[in-house]
Amino acid sequence: MSIAVEDVRRVAGEVPDPEIPVLTIAELGILRDVRVDESGGIDIDITPTYSGCPALDVIREDVQRRVAASAAGDVRVHVVLSPPWSSDALSEDARRKLREHGVAPPRPRAGLRMALPVAVACPVCGSARTEEVAHFAGTACQGLRRCSSCSEPFQHFKEH
């Protein structure tokens, strides 16, 4: 008996991101389409956050292993690029979890085009008085900032 699409989506979607393990690939918007064909073969599309994201290979293996363990059919994981991933794909839940993890979530990209762009709030004290320290931090998708109110340095998940 072949596995239902929703079950595959749930199992695959629960794979944590290797670099930001508080988030799953479903919450990050990395998991795209899931298809199950008549013979039970499973095709799963994932998309990279950044072209060179080194986590993608690990995610691909994790998805492959977890889904293969819960379903009988062949599992094929594909990398798709279009439409390109955007930080707007992050769910509200994901943004809350990031804040709790001490990472400032990305601002909605529409907010950046306004005359007075939305400020990056400090994930510790909530102050909007923060400044960029470095464009790039430990991972490609994050930058380094510092809060001018509470002095806390923190990572910011960049808008992309």
């Binding site: 950044y50 072209s51 690029l81 790039f136």
Partner: protein, 242 residues
């Protein structure tokens, strides 16, 4: 396709040479992150090239098993890192070009190329802004940093002419809507660079010397050394993996 892939790959390797050697930790991370973006773009392009040329070659085969004359990257990206100013100026000149190119290729008739370009466009936007910030800081900085940045600019400028050259394959690709006409990217590039140079108090070099040949596999001397160092392990132990 191979030209685009080789451009990204060679510059990625040059930037990766900065790993653990950059002036500050933040810059070490920034340069290697940019290298990583470029490597990711190169990998997608090599994959696509392998499908198009029908050889099904792996990324490793493109990178480790080709000789110097088979690489078709532009001469600008293979230039040595030099001091930090040289690396920043090279990044400014190339990423500004790459931004215009990716912008145009988003409309390519080749759907895969269009997808890679659209993805790369947001990444390259960051590279450009990184390079611009540093160019202004260095150019409009101390007397020493100004001289070094101007010297780097003078040395690298001649290699920018090649970016906007066409050859016998370009016109048909442009006509098919696959590629972007190189010369058409020139005005915007020139205006954008001009703005940064003015802010950075740097002089636009006046030179007519325009070395070329990268697209035909004719490279500058240092490129061979880079390849030798990069390829020797794979060549000594074919198929080596870790």
């Amino acid at each position: 396709m191979l030209r685009l892939a080789d451009d990204c790959f060679v510059l990625s390797h040059r930037l990766a040479e900065w790993s653990s050697r950059a002036p500050t930790l933040e810059e070490d991370v920034a340069l290697t992150n940019i290298a990583l973006d470029l490597l990711g773009q190169a990998r997608r392009l090599y994959e696509h090239a392998a499908r198009l040329d029908g050889t099904g070659r792996s990324e490793d085969e493109y990178v480790f098993m080709r000789d110097e004359r088979d690489f078709v990257n532009c001469l600008l990206v293979e230039q040595e890192n030099g001091d930090f100013a040289t690396t920043i100026v090279r990044e400014l000149l190339f990423s500004t070009y790459q931004l215009g190119l990716c912008g145009a290729l988003r409309e390519s008739a080749d759907a895969t190329l269009a997808a890679v370009a659209a993805k790369a466009h947001t990444e390259v936007t960051y590279h450009v802004s990184h390079a611009r910030q540093w160019t202004v800081r260095l150019g409009d900085g101390t007397a020493e940093s100004h001289i070094r940045t101007q010297t780097a600019l003078d040395a690298l400028w001649p290699y920018t002419h090649e970016l906007f050259e066409s050859d016998d394959v370009t016109p048909s690709l442009v006509a098919d809507g696959v590629a972007a006409a190189p010369a058409a990217l020139m005005p915007e590039w020139s205006a954008s660079i001009g703005t940064v140079l003015a802010e950075a108090t740097l002089e636009r070099p006046e030179t007519t010397w325009a070395p070329s040949g990268g697209r035909r596999g004719l490279h500058t001397e240092r490129f061979g050394y880079m390849l030798a160092e990069m390829q020797h392990l794979h060549r000594a132990h074919p198929g080596a993996r870790w």
